[in-house]
């Protein structure tokens, strides 16, 4: 961020501090839209059960000393790869990135999602913070961030605690690292899959190819021009049927030419009223 942008963010934060929000923010997402831009299909391995990446709700509780984020899926969150044995948190498959736009100002904040998601944010919906909800231990996340997302590193917030509750994953973040939650902040939750052995550029996310593989999503493009988001919030974040179409449209807004070059899809935040 340049100095002008930093100042804007600072002013926004100061303003936000004066209108802090207490209580919970609740977002809904329609079930059955875990198809990215409408055509993505799950990997073929039996570990990827139906509904594993189907986001149906996000709750943010910033009322206490911490920020607690609850992400709910359509099916029970399972742990087929025994995450506890590699220092994980009791789930294996999901990887959620919760982006926060703290000022809703054009040109302010980071414009691109983290490596591997292959989407950009609209100019007025750039993000200041992203909260990672991953089965990986923080040490691994830090190492990957250091290699692949150094520029955004200081704005990436890692959880102090992650737990699984049936169909929900609950992650707790330090409020001091997120900021004091305020009216006007926008939120976007991007769902991907945890990949312990990502490609050189991807930050622990799973590839999307043209054809699905045992451990790769299909329905996309073999190059990296297409969106790799499996599910996300859309519209007003109320879980209405039309939000699925809005998601497909937003994530399908990329272009890919024969050599893999093109423009990435631009997505928006959800700004609660």
């Amino acid at each position: 961020m340049n100095a002008k942008v930093s100042t804007a963010v600072l002013l926004a934060l100061l303003f936000a501090a004066g209108t802090a929000v207490a209580g919970e923010l609740e977002f809904k997402d329609p079930s059955g839209d875990d198809k990215g831009h409408g055509k993505l299909v799950y990997p073929t391995d039996k570990a990827y059960q139906k509904g594993s990446f189907d986001l149906v709700g996000v709750t943010i509780d910033a009322s206490g000393g911490d920020v607690e984020v609850t992400v709910e899926f359509a099916s029970k969150v399972e742990d087929p790869w025994d995450s506890k044995s590699w220092g994980g948190h009791g789930f294996s498959l999901q990887f959620v990135q919760l982006y926060i736009d703290q000022d809703h100002k054009a040109g302010s904040g980071h414009g691109s999602a983290l490596p591997g998601m292959n989407v950009d944010f609209a100019e007025t919906a750039r993000w200041e913070k992203v909260l990672l909800i991953s089965p990986q231990p923080n040490s691994r996340l830090k190492s990957e961030i250091g290699q692949k997302a150094k520029a955004q590193g200081k704005d990436i917030v890692l959880p102090k605690k992650v737990k699984v509750r049936g169909k929900k994953i609950v992650a707790t973040f330090k409020a001091s690292e997120v900021g004091t939650w305020a009216k006007g902040w926008g939120v976007q939750a991007l769902v991907q899959s945890n990949e312990g052995y990502p490609t050189k550029e991807d930050l622990l996310s799973r590839k999307v190819n043209e054809y699905e593989g045992e451990h790769r999503f299909g329905g996309g493009n073999d190059f990296d021009c297409d969106s790799h988001v499996i599910d996300m919030l859309a519209g007003a974040g109320k879980g209405e049927a039309g939000e699925a179409k809005a998601q497909y449209t937003a994530l399908g807004g990329f272009t890919c030419d024969a050599s893999g070059k093109g423009a990435r899809a631009k997505i928006d935040m959800v700004y609660p009223q």
Partner: protein, 663 residues
């Protein structure tokens, strides 16, 4: 050498950009990689060949240092408990290399292979070509055999076909880790064997995955998947073992409705042998269809076809229901039935002839198992309090010899030994290091577990209470010829100072579930507490307190043989992140085991054991730039006071370090 990947490596390909980069940007490619890239480039230039862009590759180097204050040489704490090998031991450092090639053949077909260097060689071997294996090591550089030659072996290969047919998603041919069924029937293969099993699998779905189906045929592993850990080879009952026609078959059906999922799994294993009464068979008893007096045998006729008999069959069916229709409640019900049929003409009785070390009862069995699990999240408005409840019954004659052998856990309880609980006698606590978990058989376990956990930031609490009765309780059970007792069936198992042959008096074998006389009841109580100290640089303090009360009346007609044990220990661990890449840990554990009538026998009587064990350890983990380094060093002091035998003292100092890089 066992180590675990963080998740299954991506196998699908099609990443044209990635493969091009792989060959184009490696500044100093290895000979193998260079050759592969070169071959691929040449192939790409040929008009009829696949393009180089159609394949991707991945590599991994893993190094392990293992040291202990003894004189064993080798780089695997616990190797093969049956066959002698020359790579197990507690002192050495070795490396292994792995290369995976993933290719996209067409829109519908892809393939992958995994090449890996053989473990066993230590750096001090300097140069061993593996050309010859002498009886004793010498300085010829070819005395230790191929295991020390670091040769690269084809470990796995697979072809995946996805034709665009309705209700058919994929056909997989080749290596498999068997993760598609469940731990009760055909279980996921242990990590070290992850590509050794081969099979053919067909799977499909319909209605946007509302229903899914899978069917597979699996080549039965001749080395362990049968009575006596063999499908015939080496069994003294057989003169001409036949193993290449032995298969297992499995099916799975899933019905995924809103908030409720039904899963049915059916598996059967078939171990065939030659019917030697058939004159066409190798080693036929009557090849000319004449008896010993030269008279023709009625019905005997050569037809150039060999009849087969089933040496062993094992059929397992499971039904599962997962229900999530109530907010903050998860319910799971599992029922299982298993049949085990041994043709005694073709199976040596290992219970009688192998000191009770045999992976199933030596008789035909039919039995069932059940498990009901409820998880309640923040019930009755209790914030951040969660409850887990489980009922379990594992039939005393439930036999599933192809079930998960390790790296799975079917019960909520912490168990008697930490690690995992598995519904089979075929548990495999082998090919692992001292710091890896052990697994115990739960055949016959009948009881329940309740766990309450609370998150009272910054303190977390979790308490488990488990009661275990035993469906294996019986008087006068035949452990001489029918039910295997694994020779060592008395005393609390010490998995910290474990040895296969039990020369250290380490207690019960984790597979020993049958005794001649048993009236056993056990309770397990565990308290975990955690404290996160943000003010002290995010220092994490964890404490675990465990108490086991284990009683066994043994022979109900007498009182002087009653076993009663109080097993208790506490473990404290401090974990401190130092910067972004480094995490250090410090811990200690103190055990007290008071066991009345711990060891002995009916005639000589039993003796008491009082055991104390102290363990102190330090850990370190460094994750930097794609490299992961882990280190543990521990000191174990154990005193075993035995009423009749001499007391024993153990002072063990040992360490393990690993470095892994993947690209």
């Amino acid at each position: 050498m066992t180590h675990r990947l963080l998740s299954p490596r991506d196998r699908s390909s099609g990443a044209r950009n990635a493969s091009s980069r792989a060959c184009g940007t490696w500044r100093r490619p290895s000979v193998v990689v260079a050759a592969l890239c070169g071959a691929a480039i040449l192939a790409a230039s040929a008009p009829a060949s696949a393009d180089i862009a159609n394949f991707d590759m991945a590599g991994n180097i893993y190094t392990k240092w293992l040291y202990r204050n003894n004189d064993n040489q080798g780089i695997l704490s616990y190797g093969n408990p049956f066959w002698p090998e020359n790579f197990s031991g507690d002192n050495g450092v070795g490396s292994e290399f792995e290369l995976k090639l993933m290719g996209t053949v067409s829109e519908f077909v892809e393939a992958d292979v995994r090449l890996k260097s053989r473990y066993g060689s230590v750096w001090q071997d300097f140069f061993e070509n593996g050309n010859v294996s002498y009886d004793e090591p010498n300085t010829s550089a070819e005395s230790l055999g191929l295991d020390h030659g670091e040769y690269v072996k084809l470990r796995g290969y697979r072809v995946l076909i996805r034709p665009p047919y309705p209700y058919l998603d994929q056909v997989a041919v080749g290596s498999t880790d068997l993760s598609m069924f469940n731990p009760w029937s055909i279980g996921k293969i242990r990590y070290t064997d992850r590509d050794n099993t081969k099979g053919v699998f067909v799977q499909g779905s319909g209605g946007d995955r509302t229903f899914e189906w899978l069917a597979g045929a699996i080549a039965l592993p001749k080395l362990w998947a049968g009575p006596g850990w063999t499908t015939g080879l080496g069994d003294q009952a057989l003169d001409h073992p036949l193993w290449a026609k032995d298969w297992a078959y499995g099916t799975r059906l899933d019905l995924n409705l809103d908030d409720i999922t039904f899963t049915l799994v059916g598996t059967t294993t078939l171990d065939y042998e030659i019917n030697r009464a058939d004159p066409d068979a190798t080693g036929a008893l009557y090849p000319n269809c004449e008896d010993q007096l030269g008279d023709p045998i009625p019905g005997c006729e050569r037809d150039h076809a060999v009849d087969l008999d089933e040496r062993y069959t094992n059929t397992v069916g499971t039904a599962e229901i997962q229900f999530d229709g109530i907010d903050d409640v998860s319910l799971h019900v599992l029922g299982a039935v298993a049949t085990s049929n041994i043709d005694k003409r073709y199976v040596t009785n290992g219970v009688a002839d192998n000191a009770g070390v045999f992976p199933m009862p030596y008789k035909d069995t039919v039995d069932g198992s059940a498990r009901v699990r409820a998880e309640l999240y923040e019930p009755f408005g209790m914030g951040d309090v969660n409850v887990q409840l489980e009922y379990f019954y594992i039939g005393p004659e439930y036999v599933s010899h192809f079930a998960a052998r390790r790296e799975a856990d079917v019960l909520l309880t912490d168990g008697l030994i930490e690690g995992g609980q598995l519904p089979t006698l075929n548990v495999a606590n082998e090919f692992q290091d001292f710091d890896e978990p052990f697994y115990e058989s739960v055949i016959g376990w009948h009881g329940g577990t309740g766990i309450v956990s609370a998150d009272l930031d910054p303190v977390t609490l979790k308490f488990e209470q488990t009661a275990i009765g035993y469906a294996t309780n019986a008087q006068g059970r035949d452990v001489d010829s029918v039910f295997p007792d694994f020779l060592h069936s008395e005393g609390f198992t010490d998995t910290v100072l474990f040895d296969y042959a039990n020369v250290l008096d380490r207690g019960r074998d984790p597979r020993s579930v049958y005794r001649k006389n048993q009236e056993r009841f056990t309770t397990v109580s565990v308290l975990w507490t955690g404290l996160a100290l943000e003010a002290l640089a995010d220092l994490q303090v964890d404490f675990k307190l465990k108490y086991i009360r284990d009683t066994d009346g043994r022979d109900a007609s007498r009182q002087d043989d009653n076993y009663a044990a109080d097993i208790a220990y506490g473990q404290l661990t401090l974990t401190l992140p130092v910067g972004d890449e480094l995490t250090v840990g410090l811990g200690g554990q103190y055990d007290v085991w008071l066991e009345e009538n711990r060891s002995g026998n009916e005639s000589a009587g039993y003796q008491d054991y009082d055991t104390t064990r102290v363990r102190a350890f330090t850990t370190l983990k460094w994750v930097f730039g794609g490299a992961e380094f882990a280190y543990i060093i521990e000191y174990v002091h154990k005193e075993q006071e035995r009423e009749l035998d001499d007391d024993q003292v153990f002072n063990v100092l040992r360490s393990k370090a690993t470095l892994g890089v993947s690209w």
